[in-house]
């Protein structure tokens, strides 16, 4: 599906309106009016049967934008403002991170094959001949597929010379790599099985009715920003996701209320160094291969669907984990906020006490809109530490491989394999690698095709983003050229936690943080 469509725009509009309401004098009234403002009396552009149904769906969208599962509703009369009040009281973000807006789900028909009126009722009738179940009848001279007999084998579709037989899929079920979203047989609407869901977000981007939503932590963060000690940890994939340059965006974040901003690319350097060391060690010990560990949707996939892969997943902490662990050590009281393109990172964060909140780029965009901050008008933040090309390269598919290759000792022996996007096929393939043989010894896994830059919470155009990223990488120093002393290399203890602190993180930030770092 083309990812700048009306459904996506509607979802973002709700986010922006909720964020804007936060900054108004009467947020309650503004919030309660969102459905009416977006579908006013007499509006001609209802996307469903009528504006009244649209308004109900918009109310549920607002609920999700405030971080509440639509499934959790107990009182239909409860206004959006009441959810807002609850969100402000909330101490920790809510799980699960995905919700189905059942009123918005159009209850697509079960995946099936059907004959269209392009059927000519030809003499050959090869559809009838190939059907193993005798499911094709001819009614009024045209083919008709009997749903009681059809087994969805698709042979008739392939046989028809007129392309008159089509397959009607269910987009969300089709997109889900692990069969976690299925129909409720009673209502026909989709439900998510959270024991199977990997939170990759593919259903969210593929549903043409935008019926699947993530639970936003936007309001939680906006509230905590007022405490004045929030640290923004920006993912390498932030390049090109918002207007303006990276230094402008950093000062936009400071204007929004973050006390300091750190590029997770610096944590990615740690991941690179440790992962390459781990790879060399494990291969020398006779292990067949290792896989990367930085993609949280992949980790969920291994946990829930690929247990045979577990021994091969690298123990190296993710760039987010390294970054957050450092921030905690330097500033234990800080509110840590990871900002990235990823929904599954919320699940990773829930398991990591060092990360308090996770925002998507979309949410960050909405928050900047709400606070009336134009990134292009912001000054450029000065004297920032420059993360290396390898660390920043984590943003796109094959970036981790390049990074590990660049620092791996004896890198000639590295035989990389790339899983660029998880789907049913690649998952099956990986299962074979784990149980039988693997054609490489270093497997990079990205749940999203193209890598993080095309994540479900991204906002930029993936192609333009890739161009901007390549440009940035050209102008970033290689990791090897960095003085090794600033890294104070490799002291991971057995629990995988970092036992050292680099002082360089907070080089340019506020004095308080620096003094804390000397305390630490």
């Amino acid at each position: 599906m083309f990812h700048d469509n009306k459904a996506v725009r509607l979802r973002k509009e709700v986010l922006a309106r909720v964020a804007r309401a936060f900054f108004t004098a009467q947020p309650d009234d503004t919030l309660n009016r969102i459905p009416l403002t977006m579908r006013p009396k007499g509006a001609k552009d209802s996307s469903r049967c009528c504006i009244y149904k649209d308004r109900v769906v918009l109310k549920y969208r607002s609920m999700a934008a405030l971080g509440f599962s639509v499934e959790s509703e107990t009182d239909e009369l409860k206004p959006v403002s009441a959810y807002f009040a609850e969100a402000l009281q909330r101490k920790t973000p809510t799980l699960p991170v995905l919700t189905v807006i059942d009123e918005a789900c159009s209850a697509c028909v079960t995946t099936c094959y059907t004959a269209t009126n392009a059927c000519k009722g030809c003499l050959a009738r090869s559809c009838e001949s190939v059907c193993p179940k005798d499911a094709i009848e001819f009614r009024n001279g045209k083919a008709w597929l009997n749903p009681d007999q059809c087994v969805n084998c698709g042979l008739c579709m392939k046989a028809c010379p007129y392309h008159a037989i089509i397959r009607i899929p269910i987009p969300c079920e089709e997109a889900c790599p692990v069969g976690a979203i299925t129909k409720d047989p009673e209502t026909g609407r989709e439900t998510i099985d959270h024991t199977k869901c990997t939170y990759c977000g593919k259903c969210l981007t593929e549903c043409p009715f935008a019926a699947i939503s993530d639970l936003s932590q936007m309001v939680d963060v906006l509230q905590r920003l007022q405490e004045g000690n929030a640290v923004a940890m920006i993912a390498p994939s932030i390049i090109g996701q918002l207007p303006g340059t990276l230094p402008q965006l950093i000062s936009a974040l400071e204007t929004l209320g973050f006390s300091s901003v750190i590029e997770v690319a610096e944590g990615a350097e740690e991941t690179t160094l440790h992962e390459s060391a781990e790879w060399a060690e494990k291969i020398s010990e006779g292990e067949r291969f290792i896989t990367t560990s930085c993609c949280p949707a992949y980790i969920e996939t291994v946990e829930k669907h690929l247990p045979e892969m577990r021994p091969f997943v690298s123990d190296t902490p993710t760039p987010m984990a390294y970054t957050a662990s450092k921030v905690r050590k330097i500033a234990p009281e800080a509110v840590t906020v990871f900002i990235g393109p990823c929904i599954a990172k919320r699940v990773e964060a829930a398991k990591n006490p060092d990360v308090d909140y996770v925002l998507t780029f979309e949410e960050l965009g909405a928050m900047l809109v709400g606070a009336d901050i134009d990134v292009f008008e912001c000054r450029e933040a000065m004297d920032r530490p420059t993360p290396s090309r390898e660390g920043r390269g984590f943003a796109a598919s094959s970036g981790v491989t390049h990074a590990v290759k660049a620092v791996a000792p004896g890198n000639a022996a590295l035989e990389p394999l790339l899983v660029n996007g998880l789907d049913t096929k690649t998952i099956r393939q990986m299962s074979l690698w784990a149980t039988k043989s693997c054609p490489g010894n270093f497997v990079e896994v990205m749940s999203c095709e193209g890598g993080c830059i095309s994540g479900p919470g991204s906002m930029g155009n993936p192609r333009l983003v890739k161009k901007q990223l390549d440009e940035l990488l050209k102008n970033s120093p290689p990791l090897r050229s960095k003085p090794i002393s600033t890294y104070r290399l490799t002291n991971i203890d057995l629990n995988g936690t970092v036992s050292r602190i680099t002082g360089e993180f907070f080089n340019e930030s506020t004095g308080t943080q620096n003094s804390r770092s000397t305390d630490a």
Partner: protein, 89 residues
């Protein structure tokens, strides 16, 4: 020769609402007409503050305002302006 001026608003609102994707427009334009079109990186045009202007993202093609802009809407507007230029000359 007179050129068609295209200003794609890159204010945060427009960028969020799909302006980011509109920046690929030069790839969609007929190469022979590329010389007659000038793309201007526009700072926020300030149009989103007034709802009567319509919905973001906004694009200005000469004096013509495209709201709730999509690649196709903008391409249409550019072609229309190009025709007028050819008509005059």
């Amino acid at each position: 020769m007179k050129k068609v001026t295209v200003s794609i608003c890159t204010g945060t609102t427009c960028y969020l609402m799909g302006g980011a994707h509109l920046l690929t427009i030069n790839e969609r334009l007929d190469p022979s007409t590329l010389d007659s079109v000038e793309f201007k990186g526009a700072h926020c045009l300030g149009l989103c503050s007034n709802e009567s202007n319509g919905k973001p993202p906004f694009v200005k093609v000469n004096e013509h305002l495209v709201s709730d802009a999509t690649l196709n809407k903008v391409l249409d507007a550019i072609r229309k302006e190009l025709k007028e230029i050819q008509h005059v000359s």
